[in-house]
Every structure is written in structure tokens, then in C-alpha cells.
């Protein structure tokens, strides 16, 4: 009796150390994302001038640069440029026939190998980049090799400058500095000139466009003039476009009311003015110009007008000889939003229009439609009743004779999905919206939770009534029997082949939890953790203006729904299986006792933390002088603890200091007060305000992340320490565990107490800590959670430098690891090893194993219905999820269970029985004959 129990206990103690080969890529999922691509930095380009196959290159709003295979939407390569989430402009250019793509963001111009994404060169400019262009037709002598790049940079109040960078090495060939403090806007190159466009602020506060033309070879100024934009330009926002690298680059702008469009061909001073048709009194909300991007293509361009409910476009031609702009034809007005893309083939220019339900291509020369494809479905999910609109598009067109023979269009949709249309059919989609996830939570589907609750009820009631309940449940389930019998052979086959079932309702293990994610642009979407390749729904829940933050927080209080609290409003509830908004009636808790739940409210500022109980101030925490509060993490609300003590190797018990109101507070030196660089970590009791433990670390790099965690009776934090001659430099992970007393079988001052109140007396815990030197910085810490907390824990850490998430077994960190001596027999029985100050992250601990998970910021965990397993979901740029069993899967048959082997063994035993049976009979008969 005792033996199996004991072996079960040792099983729980042995931590699972690794990802198994057969489980990797099956139990985990990963979306390698780029983020929403920007229109100006997305294009088709041949990575290798010799081959015809092209890739889609993009630089996204999240600052990720990458190449996507247009065949299946898989990521070929990607690089994270610095300045994620920053609204700074970024640029991506590729010269025709070049094997490099040139990016510009912040102050870095970089060239990347188009084929594999390795860095070719990187050059820093003096100011923030305003524009980057490739010099297409240069001085004639160095046409072979890489084409040079031109970068325009300028900071506020500083001088702007143009530099020409060598295409092969990134070396600066020349620099031209502008006089005055005009704001640099854009650079544009024609075959003979480099034009820099600056914005000059007049005394009245209006903007005037200043054009400076430079010699591409010497970098000397050739000419300079101001365009008489009169008083139309109040902000740079109404400048619609500055075409670049075409035979005749243009500048187009409108007045604030979008009533007239002015176009200037760069290099001439003439301004053509066009009145914008006001269709049926609707105001034009947005004007965009689509122009070809090749130096030897026709100088035609398309102006796209957009109102709230419709859109149309005009096509203009530029006479290269005299710089005259004439309107050629119009594309009709259609309801809804549309997107236009420009593609070129030799000198010809084609415009492709994508609407809600159709794709059509016209030549820039005439309005005859060359190809038309109905789009029945974009192949993505949306909210109920939502119409999916295209936001922007890029096309690759091949034309034979007078008709389009093939067209591939990559479209960003209003749902945040990036899809490819081959003709009019969607071939793949990339859920780039997930890259802007800011909050996420797990929620149990209502059916699964109801089932779990029934099982719970059966387990906790007396045997007779439990039996009756189970019987009635089974009788009620009989109605599903025919369906089950029909699907039974399929299920058996699936079970043997290892293809898992996708049935959400029959999820008895709780693996099919629904993850709802809120994104930065006010949308919410749901994934099934057990079948993550399918997005369940995706809907707009908040109407946000550009750059507006809404700080959503998601929580799931009961099965089948998720509650969202944000700056846009609190308490909105949604059905997780279809995204429907639930009628928001404030639930009245009839059974709840108002007196039992006394509310403690916290107000945290940089310099103080205040708690009020029943609206009376309870306590006040202010950090030491020169320190500010960095972060506060409480114990998780749902943090089950299986045992109140730790059983030692000799069967004695160390009692854990368990208090539901623990929180870890970090204060750090305020950067304004000079470089003292200390951080202090406090364990607080949030009800009484008592400080239970405090430790201060000096010489910390406060600019690198400080990750903190508190759970059960232990805490963990990580920081980077600066160098000093006698101390190690690098990242450290500190783990501390709180005990009621360090004497086994003794509860210290609490001995014999049944209850105690932390507001009356707070017994101080005994804290053991260990510090480990770790190889790299941790940006976020989390802990695995299981249903009852019996399973041993793993500390989950996000490693931004490796692009990985690591699950460190708690036993490897245990603060009770003996220092300076080997572990005794009893300690070894507990699984304790001698303390070693260096903790290398075993690659086998990496939950993300071979995957490269970039830009992760947050991680959440959720218990499954079975005790052994915890679900993990991490987000940031990429999205990664897995399920882990820190003490192996002791309550479920895993992939290691070989069903064929089991069947084989049974069959072999059966055969053996048949073979041996006659032998045995014969022997028995023989025996009878011998003795009788």
C-alpha cells in the first residue's frame, strides 16, 4: 500500500526536464509574425536577379523586416529593427535587379541580403532618418555592383542633411548639409538630380515646400526654390505624396478640407490644380496617390479618394517634356472601402483595384479593364455582421497581350489579416494582427466548465448520491450514443494515428481552452489553445483613434465568457465561442455576503503606495529617499497550494509561510537623482502593510529589465548587475522562499493556532534565498499553474536575446540547495543538489526548443482540467503557446504510450495462450497417468 504511494510521490518530485522529440512541434504552436505591413514598405522583389521567383518584402509597423514566400505565406527570413512600437517613420527600398534591400529606421540605414536576410552593412546618420532612397541611375561609371543609397536625416531644431552611401559597403560618399532649420521631409531621385524636399515654416505658421536639387555625383547644390503653396498647408499631414524614383517625381498636396488637389512635378515650378469632386455631399476623408516606382516606367499616377462610405479614383498623366499634368480618366465610384496597387511591367503601368467583392486591373494608359476577378471570400473570420474591407494592397501582374495572365495581390484587410489573392481566390492568410496583442487570457468554454463542475460535484458528495448522479448523467448521455457509434470507428483510427480530435465540447482534459487576445488597435480575437491554427472570431470592440491607447485588461470570471476592462469602459462581456457581446446587466450576487469581502484599494504612484480599507486609509508605503516604485506584483488570485509544508527527506516537515496577501514590490533609484543604481525588493503583506522581507542590490543596470514574480511561498526576481572588480558582471536570478520557521516540525509563533489575522499580528517569515548567475537577461517571469498545485512548479522566463522561453524546474533553483558541501542522503531524497552559483539554461529546458520566438513581452499560464498539465501562452511580436507537464504526464497517456506495441503484446499473449494450452493439457493428462 505504501509503496505505490511512495513511488507516486517520487514521481512528483522528479521534474520533467525536457521537451520530447516526438512532442515538439505537435503540442506547441508558434506564429512567426511581422506585424501589420505598411503600404509604403511592402513590395514584390526578386531576391536573386537571375531568377524569376520573387518574394514579398515588408517592413511592418512593429519594426520587423522580413521576406514572405508568396506561394504559401511562410516566412523566409526576418530581422527586428530597433524601435519596436515606435511611431517613427521607417523605410524599406530595393533597387531593381539588386540582391540587397535597404532599410532605414531611427538613425540606422542598413542593407540586408535579400535572399537570407543577413546584414550587409549598417551606417548610422547624425539625425533621425526622414527618408531613404536607392539611386537608380547614377553617374554611369559604377553601374555594376550595388546601387548607392541616399538618406535624408534631420532632427528637430538640428540641421538636416543628405548623405550618399556606397551600395556595397555603406561608406559615406558625400554629405550635404542644409542651411536653416527647415524640417526635412523627403528625398527623391530622378535620373539626373537628387531632390530634397523640406518644409519651411512661414511666420503665419503655414508650411511652404522647399525643393533643393543636388548633383548625385558631387553632392553639390544645383538649384533651390520654394513652391508657392500659399496658405493651404497647415500641417504636413495634407501632403499626399512625394513620388520618388520615377521619371518625373511629383509632389501632391491638398488643402485641409480636401477640396482641391495640387500637383507639382519636381524640378519645375508649375503647379497644376484640380478640383476634387464632392460626390453627393460626402466629404472626402482621405486622398492617396499611387505612382509607379520605377525610373523607366510611364509617368502616370492614380489618385485615390475615400469618403466614409465610398471611394473612387482618377488617373493622371504627366507630360515629361513640359511637366504638364493632365487627367486621363476616372475609375467609377463604388461603395465601401477599396485599395489600389500599382505594378509595372517594362514601361507599362497597371493599377489594380480591390474592393469588398472584386479585383480588377486597368492599364494606366486607358480605362479598359484588362482583367476582372470576383472575390467571394477573403478566407478570414470576422465579427458578426462585420464587412471585411481591404486596407492596402500590393500586386504583381504579368500581362500577355491585352489581358492579364496572372495576378498575385497581397492585401491587408481591416481584420488585420494579411492575405494573398491569386486571381480572385485567397490562397493564404497571415494573422498579423496577433503581433499587436496587448492583453490575453485563457477562458474555459462553458460546456467544458459545466462538465468539470459536474465531475467535481460527484467527487465531493457522498457515494450513494454520487452514484445516483453519475447514473442519471450517463442516462442523459445515452441520447448521444447513436452519434458516438457512428463516429466511433473514425475516433479509433484517429486515436491510433495520433491525429487529435478538434471537438471543442468533448474536451475532457481542458486542453481546448480559448485564448482571447486584445490588440492595440481595439480588436479582440479568439484562438483555441488545442487547435491554434484557426482563429475562432475576430471583432472590433473599441473604436480608437490613431495612436490612441486603450490599455485593455482581460479576465474570465466564469466559463464561456470573457470580461474586458479598458479605458474605453469597464465590464464588457463577450461570449468566447462566437465573440457575441453579452448584454451587460450588472450581476447581483445574491449569496455573496457584502460584509465578508472587505475591499482593500491600492493607489500606486511613482513615489508612494497607499492602501485604504473601507475607504479609510490603512497604510502607506513610501520608498527610501531617492527611490521610486518600479513595479508591484501580487500573488496570483488563483494560486492553489497542495501542501502547507515541505516534506524533508527524513519525513519531517518545514512549514511554508502561506499568506494570500503577499506582494513583491520593487523600488529603484530614480534616474534623475544621479547614478546610485540600487534596487530594493520588498515582500509586503498587502492587508497589514507589513514588510516581511527586503533585500537591496547595488550596482544594478536599471535600464535593463527587472523581472519579478511571487507565488505560493516563494519569490523570484532577475536583474543585470554592472561590473565591479570584485563582483561578477551579468544577469542574476534570485529566488527566495518564506518559511514559518526553519526548524522542522515547528510552526514558530503560530504553533497551535488554528487561525490568525494578519491585521492583528504578523508573524515574520524566515526567508532563504539563493542567487544564480544566468547567461542572459530575463524580461518576464511566470510560473506554471495546475489545478490543485500538486505538480511541481516550473519557473517560466522569457529570454529576449535568444528569442526563447525557458521553463526552469523549481528544484534547480531551490533556495535550500546546500552551500559549500554535498547534499546529505536526506537532501538527496528530496532532490536537492549542491548549490552552484552559475545556472546555465539547459537547451532541453527551452519550451520553444528550435523555434525562434521573437519579441515576446508577456506570458500567461492556465491550469488544464487534469492535474499534470499547465497551458502556456506568450505574446509580443510573435505568439507562442504550448502545454507542459512539469512532473511528466502522470495522469494521461502521452505520445510515448505506444498503442501498437500494447496491441502487439496482447496479441502475442493471445497466441502464446493458444500454443501453450495443448501442452499444458498434455502435461496434466500425463501427470494423472503417472500418479494413478
Amino acid at each position: 500500500m505504501l509503496l505505490p504511494l511512495l513511488s507516486a510521490a517520487t514521481l512528483l518530485l522528479t521534474p520533467s526536464l525536457a521537451v520530447f522529440q516526438d512532442e515538439a512541434f505537435h503540442i506547441d504552436y508558434h506564429f512567426a509574425l511581422l506585424g501589420a505591413p505598411k503600404e509604403s514598405t511592402t513590395f514584390f522583389h526578386q531576391p536573386n536577379p537571375a531568377s524569376k521567383a520573387s518574394l514579398i518584402y515588408t517592413l511592418s509597423e512593429e519594426g520587423a523586416l522580413g521576406a514572405v514566400n508568396p506561394r504559401d505565406g511562410s516566412l523566409v527570413w526576418r530581422q527586428l529593427l530597433q524601435g519596436q512600437h515606435q511611431s517613427n517613420a521607417s523605410f524599406l527600398r530595393a533597387g531593381e535587379g539588386q540582391d540587397l534591400v535597404v532599410s532605414g529606421s531611427l538613425n540606422q540605414v542598413a542593407a540586408w541580403s535579400a535572399e537570407d536576410g543577413r546584414l550587409a552593412w549598417r551606417t548610422a546618420t547624425d539625425g533621425v532618418l526622414r527618408d531613404v532612397e536607392i539611386l537608380e541611375l547614377s553617374d554611369g561609371k559604377e553601374m555594376v555592383g550595388a546601387k548607392d543609397a541616399v538618406a535624408l536625416s534631420g532632427s528637430h531644431g538640428a540641421q538636416s542633411s543628405v548623405v550618399r552611401l556606397d551600395g556595397a559597403t555603406g561608406a559615406v560618399k558625400w554629405t550635404y548639409e542644409f542651411d536653416g532649420s527647415d524640417e526635412a521631409y523627403q528625398v527623391s531621385a530622378s535620373s539626373t538630380h537628387i531632390y530634397a524636399i523640406l518644409l519651411h515654416k512661414t511666420l503665419l505658421g503655414y508650411l511652404r515646400i522647399r525643393v533643393v536639387s543636388l548633383d548625385p555625383v558631387t553632392g553639390k547644390k544645383i538649384d533651390e526654390y520654394m513652391l508657392s503653396s500659399e496658405n493651404e498647408l497647415a500641417t504636413a499631414d495634407t501632403i499626399v505624396s512625394v513620388g520618388a524614383n520615377s521619371a518625373s517625381p511629383i509632389i501632391a498636396w491638398t488643402d485641409a478640407a480636401h477640396s482641391t488637389l495640387k500637383v507639382n512635378v519636381v524640378g519645375s515650378k508649375a503647379i497644376s490644380s484640380f478640383t476634387i469632386d464632392q460626390h453627393a455631399g460626402e466629404t472626402v476623408a482621405r486622398v492617396q496617390v499611387h505612382a509607379p516606382y520605377h525610373i523607366n516606367s510611364l509617368s502616370h499616377f492614380l489618385v485615390h479618394y475615400e469618403t466614409a462610405t465610398s471611394h473612387w479614383a482618377d488617373v493622371f498623366h504627366v507630360d515629361v517634356n513640359n511637366g504638364k499634368v493632365t487627367k486621363a480618366y476616372s475609375l467609377p465610384k463604388l461603395a465601401g472601402k477599396g485599395a489600389f496597387s500599382t505594378s509595372t511591367s517594362d514601361a507599362n503601368v497597371y493599377f489594380t483595384r480591390i474592393t469588398r467583392d472584386e479585383l480588377s486591373t486597368v492599364s494606366s494608359a486607358s480605362h479598359g479593364i484588362l482583367g476582372r476577378w470576383p472575390v467571394t471570400s477573403f478566407g478570414v473570420v470576422s465579427g458578426i455582421g462585420e464587412v471585411i474591407e481591404p486596407v492596402h494592397a500590393v500586386s504583381e501582374v504579368s500581362v500577355k497581350g491585352d489581358a492579364v495572365s496572372a495576378i498575385r495581390t497581397v492585401v491587408l484587410l481591416s481584420t488585420g489579416d494579411w492575405i494573398l489573392l491569386r486571381g480572385g481566390t485567397a490562397t493564404w492568410n497571415r494573422p498579423e494582427i496577433l503581433a499587436s496583442t496587448v492583453a490575453a487570457t485563457f477562458a474555459m468554454p462553458a460546456e467544458v466548465e459545466a462538465f468539470a463542475e459536474r465531475l467535481q460535484a460527484e467527487a465531493s458528495s457522498n457515494p450513494v448520491s454520487a452514484y445516483v448522479q453519475r447514473l442519471t448523467r450517463h442516462i442523459a448521455e445515452l441520447k448521444d450514443l447513436p452519434a458516438l457509434l457512428v463516429s466511433f470507428p473514425q475516433r479509433v483510427v484517429n486515436g491510433f494515428l495520433g491525429t487529435s480530435e478538434d471537438d471543442l465540447a468533448s474536451d475532457n482534459f481542458g486542453f481546448h481552452q480559448i485564448i482571447t487576445c486584445a490588440t492595440r488597435n481595439g480588436r479582440m480575437l479568439a484562438l483555441d489553445a488545442g487547435n491554434p491554427n484557426r482563429i475562432l472570431w475576430n471583432r472590433q470592440v473599441a473604436d480608437l483613434k490613431k495612436e490612441q491607447a486603450w490599455n485593455p485588461r482581460l479576465a474570465s470570471s466564469k466559463g464561456g465568457e470573457v470580461t474586458i476592462n479598458s479605458q474605453a469602459g469597464t465590464g464588457f462581456r463577450y461570449n468566447i465561442s462566437n465573440g457575441e457581446q453579452l448584454v451587460s446587466i450588472l450581476p447581483v450576487d445574491v449569496e455573496g455576503d457584502a460584509k465578508a469581502a472587505r475591499e482593500v484599494r491600492f493607489t500606486m504612484t511613482d513615489s508612494a503606495l497607499d492602501a485604504t480599507v473601507d475607504s479609510k486609509p490603512a497604510w502607506h508605503f513610501s520608498p527610501a529617499s531617492g527611490q521610486t516604485i518600479h513595479s508591484l506584483v501580487p500573488r496570483p488570485v488563483n494560486d492553489p497550494v497542495a501542501s502547507i509544508g515541505k516534506v524533508l527527506g527524513d519525513r519531517r516537515v518545514l512549514y511554508k509561510y502561506l499568506d494570500p496577501n503577499l506582494a513583491l514590490l520593487v523600488t529603484k533609484s530614480s534616474l534623475t537623482l544621479g547614478p546610485s543604481n540600487t534596487a530594493t525588493f520588498y515582500v509586503l503583506n498587502t492587508v497589514s502593510g507589513a514588510i516581511l522581507h527586503a533585500s537591496t542590490h547595488n550596482d544594478i543596470d536599471l535600464t535593463s529589465p527587472i523581472a519579478t514574480l511571487i507565488s505560493e511561498n516563494w519569490l523570484a526576481y532577475s536583474f543585470t548587475s554592472a561590473a565591479s572588480a570584485t563582483a561578477p558582471k551579468g544577469q542574476q536570478l534570485v529566488i527566495g522562499e518564506l518559511f514559518e520557521s526553519l526548524v522542522p516540525n515547528d510552526r514558530g509563533p503560530l504553533t497551535g493556532n488554528q487561525n490568525y489575522s494578519s491585521t492583528i499580528s504578523t508573524p515574520e517569515p524566515y526567508t532563504l534565498t539563493h542567487t544564480y548567475q544566468i547567461p542572459e537577461a530575463i524580461s518576464k517571469l511566470a510560473v506554471t499553474r495546475t489545478k490543485q498545485g500538486i505538480t511541481s512548479r516550473q519557473l517560466l522566463a522569457l529570454l529576449p536575446d535568444s528569442g526563447a522561453i525557458v521553463g526552469i524546474p523549481y528544484n534547480a533553483l531551490n533556495p535550500r540547495r546546500p552551500v559549500g558541501r554535498d547534499a546529505t542522503k536526506d537532501e538527496q531524497a528530496e532532490g536537492l543538489l549542491r548549490y552552484n552559483p552559475v545556472l546555465e539554461f539547459d537547451p532541453k529546458w527551452l519550451l520553444s526548443h528550435q523555434r525562434e520566438v521573437l519579441g515576446l513581452e508577456e506570458v500567461v499560464t492556465s491550469p488544464a482540467l487534469i492535474e499534470s498539465t499547465s497551458l502556456v501562452f506568450a505574446w509580443g511580436l510573435d505568439v507562442f503557446g504550448t502545454k507542459i507537464s512539469p512532473s511528466f504526464s502522470f495522469d494521461i497517456l502521452g505520445r510515448d504510450f505506444n498503442k501498437f506495441q500494447m496491441l502487439g503484446t496482447v496479441a502475442a499473449l493471445g497466441v502464446l495462450t493458444f500454443v501453450v494450452a495443448p501442452l499444458v493439457t498434455r502435461k496434466q493428462v500425463d501427470q494423472r497417468w503417472k500418479f494413478l
Binding site: A727, P728, G730, K844, D896
Partner: protein, 232 residues
């Protein structure tokens, strides 16, 4: 936090005439025959005093170039998905006068040791340093499952014993049947005299053990006695 690290880079990039550090990865045949196979995410990080941090990606020629490194003492770490690289300490020290360039030196360093505990020198230079860094090991992510192995199964002693006894049980009668009568008689004789099975053998003695006699102190009559026999 990316913004902060970026600003660090920003500030230092503007420091003029700073040192240049190039780290290259040589081809190390058994472990990494072709450094071109390193994944794209391989990058090198120089961590200096608080707020100073440089992060450069791998280049086409499998090198890492830090173009402008300010005066400080740095920890150089190479992060690669597939390989471990040893951490290095890189010191960039001030030029003694304006005409001279900065001195840049690199040593191996050891995690968890004080910063002054330096390992072998990786080189030093004036204004510029090129060093080679070899991977120290391959990363192995996966735990092999203790799977079923038929040869290992058969080789185990228990199974071998079972197999041998099975051969005895099934094979002996046939063997006996096929023996010619002479050998059979000889064999029977041998069995009789064998210490284990023959009359007076250990098995026989054990079966016919006279407990009462033994308790009474009666000596055994066989000198070669096995089993429970004792000599006084």
C-alpha cells in the same frame, strides 16, 4: 525597454573616433564546419555600464561588427540558437593623448566569477580589434524517449534466463528422445551422482531434511553435505 537600449546605442554612436570591434566565427570542422549555416537570429551583444548596450546582427561574412565602442568594460555575449559561445570581457580604454587611439582588449571571462578573474587573452589592438570566437558546444533541445528496443529487451538477463529455461523445458525431452540408449544410460548415471539432483545431492537432502534429527544434534553422514549442513 527596447527604446532604452536603443537610446544607449544612439548616444554612443555619436561619440567620435571610437573603437571598432570585429568578431568573426571561424570554421571549426567537427562542430561548425560552415559558419554560414548559423541561423539569421544569431547576434552579439556588448553590455557595458548601465544604459550602454550594443546589439549587432550577424553579417553576410559571419562576422559581427561593432563600429563605435565607447570607453568602458564590456561583457560580450554571442546568442545563437544552435551553439554555445563562451562569454568574453572586452575593455576599451581611453587614449593617453588625443593623437593616439583607444586600446581595446579581450579576454575570456567566466560566469559567476569576479570580473577581474580573466581567462586567456583573445587579442588586443589600437583603435581596432579583430578576434575569432569558436563555438564551445552544440545545443541539443530534445530529450530522447526511453523507447522500446527489441535487442535491448532480449539482452536483459531476466529475459535471457527465461529463454534458457524455455529451451530446457521444450528442448530436453526431444534431446532425451533422440539420444542413443548408451548415452542415455550414461546421462542417467551422471544425474544420479550429481551433487544437486542425484541421491544424496543437495536437492535430495533438502527435500528429505530431518529437522528433528538435526535439532537433536545428529550429525550429517555425508561429508560433502550442502544445504543446511554444518560442521562442528
Amino acid at each position: 525597454m527596447p527604446s532604452i537600449s536603443h537610446w544607449g546605442l544612439f548616444l554612443c554612436a555619436s561619440v567620435a573616433s571610437a573603437a571598432r570591434l570585429t568578431v568573426s566565427i571561424p570554421s571549426t570542422p567537427p562542430l561548425l564546419p560552415n559558419p554560414g549555416t548559423l541561423p539569421l537570429s544569431t547576434h552579439a551583444v556588448l553590455v557595458g555600464p548601465p544604459g550602454v548596450r550594443y546589439d549587432v546582427p550577424i553579417r553576410r561574412d559571419s562576422t559581427f561588427v561593432f563600429p563605435d565602442v565607447a570607453d568602458a568594460s564590456y561583457l560580450l555575449t554571442l546568442h545563437s540558437r544552435d551553439y554555445f559561445f563562451p562569454p568574453l570581457r572586452v575593455d576599451v580604454s581611453k587614449a593617453t593623448d588625443a593623437s593616439q587611439q583607444q586600446t581595446i582588449q579581450a579576454w575570456q571571462t567566466f560566469r559567476g566569477n569576479e570580473w577581474d578573474n580573466k581567462g586567456p587573452n583573445y587579442g588586443s589592438g589600437k583603435g581596432e580589434l579583430q578576434l575569432q570566437l569558436q563555438p564551445s558546444g552544440h545545443k541539443d533541445f530534445y530529450q530522447a524517449r526511453g523507447g522500446f528496443n527489441i535487442i535491448g529487451f532480449v539482452k536483459s538477463p531476466m529475459i535471457l534466463m527465461a529463454l534458457v529455461s524455455a529451451v530446457m523445458i521444450f528442448g530436453m525431452p526431444y534431446l532425451m528422445d533422440n539420444m542413443d540408449p548408451e548415452t542415455k544410460a550414461e546421462f542417467n548415471e551422471m544425474q544420479k551422482s550429481s551433487p544437486l539432483t542425484g541421491s544424496g545431492g543437495a536437492a535430495d537432502q533438502l527435500q528429505n531434511f530431518d529437522l528433528a534429527g538435526w535439532m537433536a544434534g545428529k550429525g550429517t553422514n555425508s561429508a560433502s553435505g550442502g544445504g543446511g549442513s554444518k560442521k562442528r
